[in-house]
Every structure is written in structure tokens, then in C-alpha cells.
Symmetry: C2
Subunit: 397 residues, 2 copies
Amino acid sequence: MMITFKEALQKVLEQTLDLGKEEVTLMKSLNRILAEDIQADRDFPPFNRATKDGIAISYSNLVNTPHKFKIEGEATAGARQQILNNKVNCLEVMTGAVVPENADTVVMYEHITLVNGEVVINENVIRGQNIHYKGSDKKQGSIVITKETKISPAEIGVMASVGSSQVMVKANPKICTIATGNELVDIDVLPEPHQIRKSNMLTIEAALATVEIQATSLHIDDDKETIRHGLKKALIENDVLLLSGGVSMGKFDFIPEVMEELGVEKVFHKVAQRPGKPFWFGIHNESKTVIFSFPGNPVSTFANYHLYFLPWLHKSWDIPIEKSYIKLSIELLITPSLTRFIQVKSTWKDGSLWATPVVENGSGDLTSLAQADGFICLEPRDEAYRVGEAVPFVITR
Amino acid sequence: MMITFKEALQKVLEQTLDLGKEEVTLMKSLNRILAEDIQADRDFPPFNRATKDGIAISYSNLVNTPHKFKIEGEATAGARQQILNNKVNCLEVMTGAVVPENADTVVMYEHITLVNGEVVINENVIRGQNIHYKGSDKKQGSIVITKETKISPAEIGVMASVGSSQVMVKANPKICTIATGNELVDIDVLPEPHQIRKSNMLTIEAALATVEIQATSLHIDDDKETIRHGLKKALIENDVLLLSGGVSMGKFDFIPEVMEELGVEKVFHKVAQRPGKPFWFGIHNESKTVIFSFPGNPVSTFANYHLYFLPWLHKSWDIPIEKSYIKLSIELLITPSLTRFIQVKSTWKDGSLWATPVVENGSGDLTSLAQADGFICLEPRDEAYRVGEAVPFVITR
């Protein structure tokens, strides 16, 4: 009896690790997960800030005794706060400047004229206009970004403004990708007819790079002693092993056997899903290493990376994985007892995202990957999935 | 008379540059734009490949004279093609192995039993089953990825499998980000009360990093000679200058004046939009440099980077920018003659993406950026935008 996809995912998520945190420089924190709340280190904005170029006046003076304003001086951005010495006068003021003491209103150049060196105001003025008030965005000490936020360029800007030149982020797991199989050769080698290039783990390393994880990699030939030696070292040095190939029923698929000998506990092997059925998952309690052993073909490996590893990673980081949905552009009937993951191309239409299945040629078809934007996830059921029905969508690009 | 957003964008897109192309190593091509078609360097798969572990047989032999199969030997993945010498026999075969000469069908281990060292087949067999045929995915020389594709992990995998260890990608423009203003201090400095940290251009540099562009940066004080010297050098050394601040009407906003003196042609200044109105755009014909001078406040700069610079960049790369849409969760009335860009938080519901405006405090409010997932783009019109209406969505994270 094979385990269901839902059960398998549950079992994977029970094995999350506490990855801890680490400090990085601000620009290095891009795309990482924040591990601390970021507070305003002072009021935001830090002073009453002019939002227009023009003049700063005392409003009550304008209303009570309308007059031309003499210009006392100027307040530029980046200068200390100026003082309007005589409230019947004005100070020129630049965008970004501190509103001068004794002034409470800014009138933009477009609304004034100069007559004999004095300012005439031509438009209605509202008390306090064109000022961005101290602390009106955030008070000092208030939280501007909460922890467990994924750091995008916007967060970089906010953190820069509160002086977070060093940022505490969730630490990454140490990951080794392991390819097995004598048929694999390096990508810059011209393969013999019976050989193929090892592309599978490069796909995974690229995917890891998009979440800012630099994995190490290992290629092990199908030889039991070589596998034992390589795996033993990899278990000690890493938090996670991602394997491809080596867990089907072939005579030379030594991995499960060697894993057992090394004290790795098999949590499950094979899941009622397509593609990606011969997925093997285990843990090494001694070294606290989690092992994802994906089937050898490219679509299965890519699917299971997104279906199991990424949710595991996000749960280990204590953050939810964002769920997306997409509408079906064709009817689909999912009959047997396997959860199906179907590669689709996505397009926007009428404000919704629509999925069109990619024509693929079995799970060994690497080239179909490059046509797809992700997988739709369909549980088997009696009635067909209808056109326009929204289904879970795992985005892969 | 201010130019409209649509006209402004049009004028920006007329100034695209031919950025050329460059060769990078495969893993460095991630997130770049492909500048060549990628061809299959041989048939895909390169041989008739067994997709299951089991035995390889000659089908007609099974049908014509049902019998137990003697095992002649084995065909492992990574080994040269074996020969089934006597068609009444079988060869053991592993997933990924070349299907042996004289065999045309693979039966998996789960469907056979061994009786006295000979194989009995227990299930129905279809001729040619469990074989992924040579060239069935792609024929040698056929295109597997077309140029102008953005390279995601899936493309890395496909390119690895066809041996693209070096990849031709669209070259990046040389970009310098320039912050102006005496009020700006470095992020690791504790600012005086009248000063603020220079966060604006770090936001832009982080945004550029997400499209794999490493910009250089420059901070120029509000002094005409310093600005002239800095800009002159930057014009010569770069394809694009991204400025923030320095183009409003303040006395110390020398940028437009100096630009003119240096031979930069102003294409337009100010656009009928909010935020981001005081946007200045120009070109330096002599050095073929394009200058985007954004307003000084964070939301305006961030909006205009996405609204003008990114479309310019994509058009320079000859690729379309993907248009996204989102549904409004509240009614919005956009009356005056300004195109509005409103920061929103996005959430999935019923298979669609829904936008909720972020409460912000004017365009100087940096902290609102970190709450938003993007901007919705609304043209002014008489009737209100309805709940559930789909509107253009510029994603910023």
C-alpha cells in the first residue's frame, strides 16, 4: 500500500530542522528571510519635512493680516532647522528641508509671485499644507517590518532608512546535491551514445540559487563502496541531501541499502503520485540530516523539489509558503488513485491566470520543463475538473 | 501642459539601446535573457531508453511461443548497448539503460517472478512498453529553447542536457545610480535630526540585483561644480543613469541645468501621474546615455523604476514585459486628470488575485513600500472602478 501525497508531505513536514539565524550585510539580505523585527530607530519622518519647494510661513499671520512676505533667508534640504525670526516674514524652503521654527505651512513656488523682492501668495492656503509631519509614518521604536518577512527591494529600502546595515536572517541549511549513475557525464563533455549529461542536479542547484542557497554537489558512480564512502561524508557535513536517481528497483541502485547501513531511517519510499512516484525520504538521527531522494528523471525531480523540499524549507524557516491558484482552460479527468501533477503554461486573461497543459512525453522528457511555468495539483475524483475551475498551482519559474 | 503617462512611457520606449550580447557560463546565465536559440545537439533521448527496472524481451517471441525466459545477462544504465543474442531469452535491464539490440519491450520486475532461475511474466504485456524512444522528445538540431527566453532553473536543466556549458545572453546596460542632496548620510551613520539615510538608491540597486544587474553608485552633494564633474564622468562611463532627487523646483536642484550644459537633451519633465509626477527623462546623444531622473521620495522612485525603467530595459532586450492583472477588493473613484498608481497588497481568493490598497501617508512614506506587493495602475475616468474589476498590476516583489 503506497502512501498518499498528502500523507507523504505531512511526514516530510514533521522532519523540519531548526536552522537558526545569522547576521549578513544589508545588501546580502536580499531574498533572505528576516529573523528579527525591524524597528524605526527614530521618528519617521525624523522632522517636519517640507514636501514642496517654496516658502514657509506662519499661517495665522497670513490669515489675520494679509500682506506681502519678506524673505528672511532659506532652509535647504540637509541643513539644520532654521528659525523664522519674525513671523510676518517667510523663509524659502526646499523639498526635504526641515520646516523652520515658527513656521507651520509651506506654499509652493507655483502659487506665489515675487513683487519687488517680496512674496505675494496667489492661491488659497490651508494651515499645515505641504508638510510631512514628524513621526506621522512611524513613531520611534515601532515595528516597520516584522520577522519572517521575505526581504525584497522594498524591505532593503526600509531597512536602509532605519540604519539596519547588518541584518539578522534565517540561516540556510547546508545542502549537498548528489547525482548517481554511471551513465552521467559532465555537461562540457560530448557523451557516448549510451551516456547522458548530468543536468538534473544543475536544475536543482539553479533552483536553490533562486532562494539564495549555494549547494555543494557530488557525483557518485554506481559502486556500493563508493556510495557508502560518499554518503557517509555527506551526512556528516550537511543538513540536507538531495539525491537524484538510485532509489528504483534496479540491481545497481544501492542507495537505500547503504542508507540503512549508515543508520538512516527510511520514513517512506514511493508515493501515490505521478510523476515522482519512486520518491524516497529518510532521516539520519545521529547527524540530524534529512534526505530527499528523488527519482532520476528530470520532471519527477523538479516536481518533487517543489512539492516536498520547498515546503520543508519554508516550514524550517517558520514561514508559510504562498499558495497560488490557476484556472483550467481545458476539462481534465483524473481517475486512478494517484495525485497528478501536470505541467502547465500560464496566461493572464480577464484578470485571472489560466493553465494550459504542456504536451509532454512522459516524465523523462526534460525539454518539456522549459515550456512550463509550473505544475497544477489534481487529486483523483469521480467528476471531471471543469473548464474555469481554480486548482492549486505550484509556480516553478 | 503636462505629458500623460502613456505619452511619457512611449517617449521612454523610443530611446531603447542595442545592448548587444555576451557569453557567460551556464550557471551564471540564471535569470538572464537568452540571446541564441538552443538546439538539441543529438536526439533526445539519445537512445531507446528503458524507463523501468526489469527485463528486456523480444515481444513477438513472447506472443508466438509463450515460455519462461532465460536471463542472458544485464544492461545497466551507463553501459554500452548490449545484444540479446537469442531472442527467446531476455536481458535484465535497469532504468536509464540502452534497450538491448534485438529487444523491443521492457517488463518491470513487479510484473515477473523467477522460477528456477527463469523469468515468468505475470501480466499483460504491450509491444514496446516502458521504452522512451530515441528522438521522441526532440530530434537532433531541433530548437529546445528559443532566444529571448528568460532563463529559469528549468532552462538551466535543458541547456545542461544539450551541453550548453557556455551560453549567449543579452548584455546588461552599464548603470550608475546617483543620489543627490546634502541631507543624505550613509546607512551605517547615525543621522543628525535634519538628515536622513540614503535608502532610495539602495532600493533601486536591490531591484537591479533581482534582474542580475550590478550597478555602480554615486552620491553627489548639492553643489553645481561637484554635480557637473560627477555627471560628466558618469555620462561617459554608463549606458543608463538612474537619479533620485534634484529635479524639482528648488534653488539647489542643479541637475536639469547641468544636464543641459553637458549636452543632455531633455525629453520631458513632469508627467500627469501620482505618485512620481516630477519625473525628468533625457538622453545624451554624444555618449548614447539614457537618463532617468526620479523624484526624491521613495514611493515615487520605486514606482517610476517599475513603470518606466523596467519596460525600457525589457524593450532594449527585445523581450515583452509580462502584463499582470488583479481584481479590486474595494471600489475606487479616480477623478482628476492624473494616472494613479496605488500600492496594494495581493491575496489569492477563488482562483483570482485580489488587491487591497495599502494605507499610506503620501509619497514620502517609505515604510508603506514594505507592506505592498505592487502597484495597480488606474487611468482617470467618470465611473468608479468596481469591486471585482480586473486592473493592470505592476508586481514589485
